[in-house]
Assembly symmetry: D2
Homo-oligomer: 242 residues x 4
């Protein structure tokens, strides 16, 4: 224990290279928390996707200050197909040093991988995993999923479908004058401000809607690899019927 | 961090109530590590199974000193069918306060549960799980396995089969004069001392045998829910052929 | 490890009850950091002193949310004589539950005490101190200082003198049109914005002035129990001579 | 948190190179606690002093396994004058990499230093001290003691006197047939087995004697830099009077 998170304000949920640059300080001074790493979440918490040039600018600032650059890729595949770039382009070619490669939100069961693009950063990770209880018994069966996941484009097809369903949902919602899309829908997450009566109507129809997820104002709707067209239609029709 | 494990010598891999009683001390003295809990592993690390009266005696000592009694049940089902008792008898009726209910070694994927038999011990466990990264995304899919696991005796049938295969293996090995069963085979684990030439022969035939698992002298062989009769036969035949 | 600090913006270095009230949330929700305690620093980091009614309002909010109220009293005595109230009034009578009673900045050597105004909060503090290496060998000799410290008003006289020297320094500085006092001087700390040439002049005369302590703009000057009138005069004269 | 202490049995309170060599294992295997450092206490917990050749043998084993060698020198000066060697001989010339240089038990107030004999081991120690609350405010006043401590042989004279008083006490006790010196008295600590009636007599005379300090059988008596000849005489006379 003992690491400290320094949150940045960011713009639309994404941090900027400029704000990052101004926030790094105190290096080598014992009275200050020591900066160690910069972490961005791709897709980020508002459903926005970092563009390649944004990642590069942020990585450059991190490396200028001798910090390591981490990408939290819980929705890595969704970002990848949204940008239509290669995994290499979105990671090490843009300055990412370490990637949390998430698969659990895109069809796997409890399967994630930590990928180091610089061998010298691996350090004691295997022992840290063991000590924190993250080296599971029979882990090979969990890991085997990743093999299938990246074979025959399963992961990309899953993500494309999820993003498509997200887009369909976002488009459908934006036709309502009293519903406001909070952030541009760039992947499979849709944030929208609903009038209270619509939320109550949906909840009375069996949905579970609330505005507490992000900024206290928006409802968060997430399409997944297994969301069906009819699921989206049904939700949109229920809204229309109100 | 900061907990300290106090190992006991035990007998055949199982701790005894007497040794436990003598080892607890320093309570309330600031210069001493404070005793908090007693933990036993069922099936234990030598493949032995704690008998109900042994569990009760140990629990009594723990409770006499106001310590909590924990059972590490990574092989809970194997112990249960070995003793042929009910889950209640092997746990709270014998003084167990908290159980780690393992399913991963008996057919599930990354599925374990922590069961508190005393509500007042639950404390902040949900937050501790979250903080240590053990509250997984989509955890409901992992947890769903446990529902199937305890339905229609799947878990007991799996464990019975594994124990049966362990017994078959142990019986087969004990027919060799130069192989010594290190501990009585009470569940699905078999520990045996092999002559070096037999180990080398097996390794040359594609097995991976070593004596480093436990006491530096015994080979550890584990039968599982999916071990086939023919798997055991094949191993025994390979040994005979040497 | 694992505690997380949630910083508030505050006004002039002091947090407000209103901002505090709005910032507490997520209690009982496993995905959120759990609020536990509110801590204020008296004298605070800008040299301002919390007034009794401010402490009471903040404590009320903390207690409304079932949080404990802590006062970091590294400069406790300086605040006390500044407010001219009793220790009881500035602590438990204003809702403080736990006090870090500092003496090191007011004449003692490595001597601090943690004072619990509610016995039920003491918990395992003695063991936590031991574990973190804060139970010193021969600690009775360190602690003995506190006995002398609070006898015959030593602590109050020391603090009064330090505050008086701080006031004298602040008054002297404020006579210069190009020096701006950043915060009202309420105890023994003076924060002031100096023109660059004055800083360089002082540094050339053997002082060590920088603007990095607080907000990157102000120099921080601290008078202590052993600061002499002549020390302040000398500094002020050096500034005038520039 | 997370470090794990592996205790060794030792002989008369001192670990041996042979036992150490046999106890180090599992390096690089993720399922095993990773060996990192060997620590010896000089003077050790039974009042015995490690001889130079013992330190060298232990250090050699530590370094053979790529472990760092630490000396807990809470009673460093007492050991030094007991062996009549130089600080260099008892530390880096005997393979010690890091020394905890204690002064608190020999006349200082809360003053200890960590001395690295290999610069590459310093690492983040300054930040670790800060984070754990061991970078004190006004620490320069605490540290200043060490300057005086090692000047004009103050530390050696203090230690010589303490050891001399320990020897006098040990010699006096050993004249009683019913008192058994538990370990050879090599520095300022005396461990002795007293008959119960003698303990009770001493306690009735205002001493505080118990047998709980070490092995549950011996009383622990410690002479210090400020123990007077008359203090020892008084204790011995009280024992005789029984």
């Amino acid at each position: 224990g003992g690491g400290k998170l320094i949150p940045l304000n960011g713009v639309m949920g994404k941090i900027t290279a400029e704000e990052l640059d101004q926030s790094i300080g105190g290096k080598g001074i014992v009275h200050h928390t020591q900066p160690s790493s910069v972490s961005i979440t791709q897709v980020c918490e508002t459903g926005e996707v970092y563009q390649l040039d944004e990642i590069k600018k942020i990585s450059n600032i991190a490396h200028k200050h001798n910090l390591n650059m981490h990408m939290d890729g819980a929705r890595f595949a969704n970002a990848l197909v949204s940008l239509d770039v290669s995994p290499a382009e979105m990671t090490w070619k843009s300055g990412i040093d370490v990637l949390s490669f998430g698969a659990t939100k895109n069809g796997c069961l409890a399967a994630e991988a930590i990928i180091f693009f610089k061998k010298e950063l691996v350090g004691d990770i295997a022992f840290l995993m063991k000590r924190s209880g993250h080296l599971l018994s029979k882990m090979r069966f969990v890991s085997a999923q990743l093999d299938a996941y990246v074979t025959n484009d399963v992961w990309l097809r899953n993500a494309k479908h999820a993003n498509k369903m997200g887009k369909k949902l976002s488009d459908g919602l934006s036709k309502h004058n009293d519903i406001e899309i909070s952030y541009p829908t760039e992947a499979n997450e849709v944030f929208a401000k609903f009038p209270r009566e619509k939320i109550e109507h949906l909840n009375s129809e069996g949905y579970k809607m609330n505005e507490e997820e992000l900024d206290g104002k928006s409802v968060r709707l997430v399409a997944a690899w297994n969301t069906k067209d009819s699921d989206v239609d049904e939700l949109l029709n229920t809204i229309k019927a109100n």
